[in-house]
Symmetry: C2
Subunit: 467 residues, 2 copies
């Protein structure tokens, strides 16, 4: 049980008025026994309650309820809880502030040319003096869509028009819009196993039924994919075929062509999520599935947040008109269009000479960081497939490692990572973890890895024995 | 039938392959007869298809299917259409480009101090050099949330903490998040009659059942509200009690207190949408309902897009922790947080001296525009309640006016307005219209109103007789 769950549990009891203001809370020891969790977990939950002004500490005697922590009216709980759904555990891990952040697949802001970027951004106000006073259209800025249309057509042979391109507020919104527009409760959705966990949250929330498709270093088992499509008539296959998150695997070109044929044959739409395409270390990755799709079955999602500008949150969905109509409806319900300012800044920066130069440097910097992480791991005996792009290592730890305990110990040592089961709707991959090498600098990477490796118990179970 | 519907209908038939490339389409006359719509409507739909490269004109002989307009694979249609929901007719009207835009409740960009605003925005890059490289948290920038917490507490006696405030990408997202977090299929939702139509779209999409609550110049009928709450146990009451859109009415303070009591008694959450509060012409409006709520039943939504910066799209949702937890989950599924850049620019601009001075001028400018519109209407004999704030007039036209026809004629004369039935989930208010006075300058307002009034047929029905 993670401390965040204990925190939520205690917060709810406090707000419900189970203790009154200035009343003493149970001791760490007794609560630990009551909840069957480690004392450290309770301790950290109490510390977080203290940080959030829900409890206070008095003379080292224990924890007391803070004034104002109890909700004035208690009956509110039930109607809310009724509508509750399972939260995203990934964002809970991400919310913890630590020194060694291996959990977020997020670029180190120091790797971005912040100064030049700001100069470009400032120019936008001179080019478009009324940009702050103007709404974007729902579909996105025409000038940006036209520039991206040319870009995708030249680079990936998409042959689209600007009407087939939607600007979204980050790829999370794009995934959510596609799902809301096309998936209904009880629809079958194919997802990779493992897969990007916020996508699991989106499909879960819609009441879709997910069927996992295993992803291996050299692709899917296409016979399995065909069998699943034939047997279950899935509405959608959500995939991340290039430098896949969390594994780093890439689906080869021949499989891409065949997947598009299968989608067409079995009328299964494909949502192709492609945030890491530009972060390759060796050869360029194969063309997107969208390139091979002549029948309108592929919806292509491309985030630019990962490496252009997280602070702008610009992503793109590309699809044919019949699907676009549905996406536009979903978008108009979700917001009134992505902010025009973000779109204009992105437009002028992304297509600049500077950005293209920067990208070359960025790939080198990330490859170096990947190699540092791999070097640190070289004596552990753990196994992983060295990725040819992306931000992450997908690592198999020895089977005896208890993942929840390792996560707890890591957080206590100011380190975060993501346990493998978070990437699986069936909660498998109990021995796997994802470590991201994109956020920390080289020195921090070395030190963080040294510390992390020392926390993983040897097979004899030294750490476990000590408890 | 609007020309956009005819356009969509034709586009679908074209893409489905009903005609082959270079085949001639039916004549305007025959299609007009087939669809029972005016010839002008068909003509405009054809023009739009031409503009979008779906058809071409040959030797004045008629319209022909453009190469590439037919979708290569036709079976795509059915799975898509299955998932289709009713689109937002409001956004369809808004999409039409005209000279006299009375339909959008949107501020004229020339009324914003664009130059000063851009200067503030540029400073943000110096203050936060890495702002473009940094994600916001899901809940929103801490500095902004703290500033807004002080603002709401000082101005409206909210007494909240920064944890009880969520930054959203516009009020449309806030409404959508609250609905997704709290409303399930077949839940009962109270909505004002008339109400903000994109909210109808949100509830419709979730499969909620809407019950209308009439809004009058001096408030609701509270006996009716209580009866509805008692009888139907609604989950939520979505309201816009201050300078209500479209009517401009404001719920008096006594009713606000009583509504909060009713919400508590019948456990009905209230979503209080409050985008027009700062645009008052006389006295300040009464406090929000949230001010009177001690039990956590009110969720307060405040958009700043309307008058601070449409190009940033910053809105706020304020609620107590139990509801906030659900909103945060919905937000983390919808996107990865509102872009940090927008939040930082908003922070520095909104709390500036300049902004507060600007607001005084803005109120005067809008009141002048309102008066110009009312003066133009003074000889028509139409009826309306003069609003004390907001962007809109809600006007009753003579009963004989056929609204679809008037809209069509207006668009043909480069004028848009919003028919009343769009604001009603039961499609009533057939004689009412909303005219917004916020977008056009004084001269355009006078000329546009002169033209519009001349299009509304006199009771004898001259225009109708001519057809």
């Amino acid at each position: 049980m993670l401390f965040k769950q204990v925190y939520d549990y205690l917060l709810e009891r406090i707000q419900r008025g189970e203790w009154s203001e200035d009343e003493k809370l149970p001791s760490v020891r007794s609560l630990s026994a009551e909840l069957h969790v480690h004392r450290l977990t309770v301790f950290k939950a109490y510390q977080m309650l203290k940080n959030n002004n829900k409890v206070y500490v008095k003379d080292k005697q224990g924890y007391y309820i803070q004034t104002g922590a109890v909700m004035p009216f208690h009956s509110l709980q039930d109607p809310i809880v009724l509508a509750s759904v399972q939260g995203s555990s990934l964002s809970e891990i991400h919310d913890v502030k630590v020194d060694y952040q291996f959990s977020k697949a997020l670029l180190d802001p120091n790797l971005l040319p912040n100064h030049y970027f700001a100069e470009y951004a400032k120019k936008v106000f001179d080019l478009y003096p009324k940009v702050l006073g103007t709404y974007s259209t729902i579909q996105g800025d025409q000038e940006l869509r036209e520039a991206l249309t040319r870009y995708f057509t030249e680079k990936y042979r998409f042959y689209i028009t600007a009407d087939e391109l939607l600007v979204t507020s980050g790829s999370q919104q794009a995934i959510d819009l596609v799902a809301r527009a096309l998936v209904r409760s009880r629809d079958i959705v194919l997802v990779e196993q493992p897969t990007y966990s916020p996508a699991i949250d989106v499909f879960t929330r819609l009441g879709a039924r997910m069927i996992p498709v295993e992803i291996h270093p050299h692709g899917y088992d296409l016979d399995q994919v065909e069998m699943l499509m034939q047997q279950f008539k899935p509405r959608l296959f959500y995939m991340n075929p290039t430098f896949h998150n969390p594994t780093g695997y890439t689906i080869p070109a021949e499989q891409r062509k065949r997947l598009v044929e299968l989608a067409q044959t079995y009328r299964c739409l494909i949502m192709e999520d492609d945030p890491y395409r530009d972060i390759y270390f060796g050869e360029k990755p194969p063309f997107p599935l969208f390139t091979y799709d002549t029948a309108g079955y592929v919806i292509y999602i491309r985030s630019f947040s990962k490496y252009v500008a997280p602070g702008l949150g610009i992503s793109i969905a590309v699809c044919r008109p019949a699907v676009m109509r549905e996406l536009l409806r979903a978008k108009s319900i979700s917001d009134s269009g992505t902010p025009l300012l973000s779109q204009k800044i992105f437009l002028h920066y992304f297509f600049s000479e500077r950005m293209q130069q920067h990208l070359v440097k960025l790939r080198i910097a990330l490859e170096v960081r990947k190699e540092i992480m791999e070097e640190a791991l070289s004596d552990t005996g753990w196994s992983w497939e060295s990725p040819q792009g992306g931000f992450n290592l997908w690592i198999r730890l020895p089977d005896h490692v208890q993942m929840e305990k390792l996560l707890e110990t890591s957080i206590a040592n100011s380190i975060t990572f993501v346990p493998g089961y978070i990437f699986d709707s069936f909660k498998g991959f109990r021995s796997w973890i994802r470590l991201s090498y994109a956020y920390l600098n080289e020195q921090q990477l070395r030190e963080g890895m040294r510390r992390f490796i020392s926390l993983v118990p040897a097979p004899s179970g030294l750490l476990e024995a000590s408890q």
